[in-house]
């Protein structure tokens, strides 16, 4: 799906969970065409080369979540997960970091099953200003290998309901990342990929299966495959039209 639809689906499920009409949801998805997503309040033109995106056929979308920009390659090089729940669904409190940690535990288990020697970033004081490029810095409970970021995550909250999504790098198109983030001096220095970590590039389905199994095993979940409900599909249509595909939203949120 394109960027606008992907973000509309995540928000539709999130709004549905708040309203009590959607179940807690774990979703894995890919981006077609490849898309740069920017954080909720991130200025568009400052950090992303919009002209380069247009030349290379790369979409751009503003996320409902915070954080810095990400280049989402197609399904051969990237998988995005999203989790929508109320804190009560997970049997934990509404503390923000608790939900990050709950998700990170499952991601660590799944990525280790694929052979990647990943670790959860421990709590520590923040270091300096927020970078333009998401993979330029790891936050607490994000996933890294030997100090280099493998999964970049961001969260949206309304009271105890939250949406968290994050990009898992299977591989990286280095020239493209340089082209779309010209203000980031060496965007590859701080990141790593599954291909670099395990010595081969795993397929999208293989990674999705491993992560789903890990969420189930780590937290004792009974995951049931499903599509969007009628209610969710209606929200998606509205959100694409009025928000995520609207030029005004891309310029600034409101």
């Amino acid at each position: 799906m394109d960027g606008a639809t992907n973000m509309a689906v995540d928000e539709a499920v999130f709004r549905g969970r708040q309203a009590g009409t959607s179940p807690p949801t774990l979703r894995f998805f890919a981006w077609r065409p490849p898309t740069v997503s920017i954080g909720y309040g991130q200025p568009l033109g400052r950090d992303v080369d919009v002209g380069a995106c247009q030349r290379f056929g790369v979409g751009i979308v503003r996320r409902p979540t915070g954080g810095s920009a990400i280049y989402h390659d197609g399904p051969e090089r990237e998988l995005t997960y999203s989790v929508v729940a109320q804190a009560d669904d997970l049997g934990i409190g509404p503390d923000l970091l608790d939900t990050y940690r709950w998700i990170a535990r499952a991601l660590v288990r799944g990525l280790r099953a694929l052979g990647a020697d990943v670790a959860m970033v421990p709590e520590r004081p923040p270091d300096g200003p927020v970078p333009a490029f998401c993979f330029a810095r790891t936050g607490v409970y994000e996933i890294e290998v030997a100090g280099r970021k493998l999964v970049g995550s961001a969260q949206r909250r309304q009271a105890a309901a939250f949406l968290q999504h994050g990009a898992v790098l299977l591989d990286v198109d280095a020239p493209m990342v340089h082209a779309v983030f010209p203000t980031t001096r060496d965007p590859l220095a701080t990141l790593t990929t599954l291909a670099a970590t395990i010595g081969r590039r795993p397929g999208f389905a293989e990674v999705a299966d491993a992560l789903a199994a890990a969420f189930g095993a780590e937290h004792g979940l009974d995951l049931r495959p499903g599509g969007l409900s009628e209610d969710e599909s209606e929200r998606v249509e509205t959100l694409v039209r009025e928000r995520y595909a609207a030029p005004a939203w891309l310029v600034a949120p409101a």
């Binding site: 909720y40 309040g41 915070g66 923040p126 936050g139 961001a154 969260q155 949206r156 909250r157």
Partner: protein, 107 residues
């Protein structure tokens, strides 16, 4: 009534990097979202404590969102709202009552 977020909320969120607020003249509704605060950890909806009209918006927050962290009960205020029903005050907690509530909740 001056509206902002609590010391607990800013601590949970971490460094605030962006605040989106309604304009003067807008109407806010008790317990409904009126804006958004973004931190390094999350984007979170802001909820109105009372129903009323926005009569002032903190002009500093657009360029200096970090004052929400530095002084949530002072310089980091967000809106001034003219409450439609002054009786709604009665349902609110002082910062001290809220801290007592949090302390109970933690046990």
């Amino acid at each position: 009534m001056r509206v902002g977020i609590t010391a607990f909320a800013q601590e949970q969120l971490g460094d605030v990097v962006f605040v989106e607020l309604p304009k003067v003249g807008a109407r806010v509704t008790a317990h409904q979202a009126f804006g958004v605060v973004e931190s390094v950890k999350a984007v979170s909806d802001l909820f109105a404590p009372v129903t009323g009209e926005v009569v002032e918006v903190n002009p500093e927050l657009a360029s200096k969102p970090e004052i929400v962290n530095q002084d949530p009960y002072g310089k980091g205020w967000m809106l001034v709202v003219q409450p439609a029903d002054p009786g709604e005050w009665d349902g609110l907690l002082t910062s001290q009552q809220y801290e007592e509530f949090l302390a109970q909740d933690a046990h």
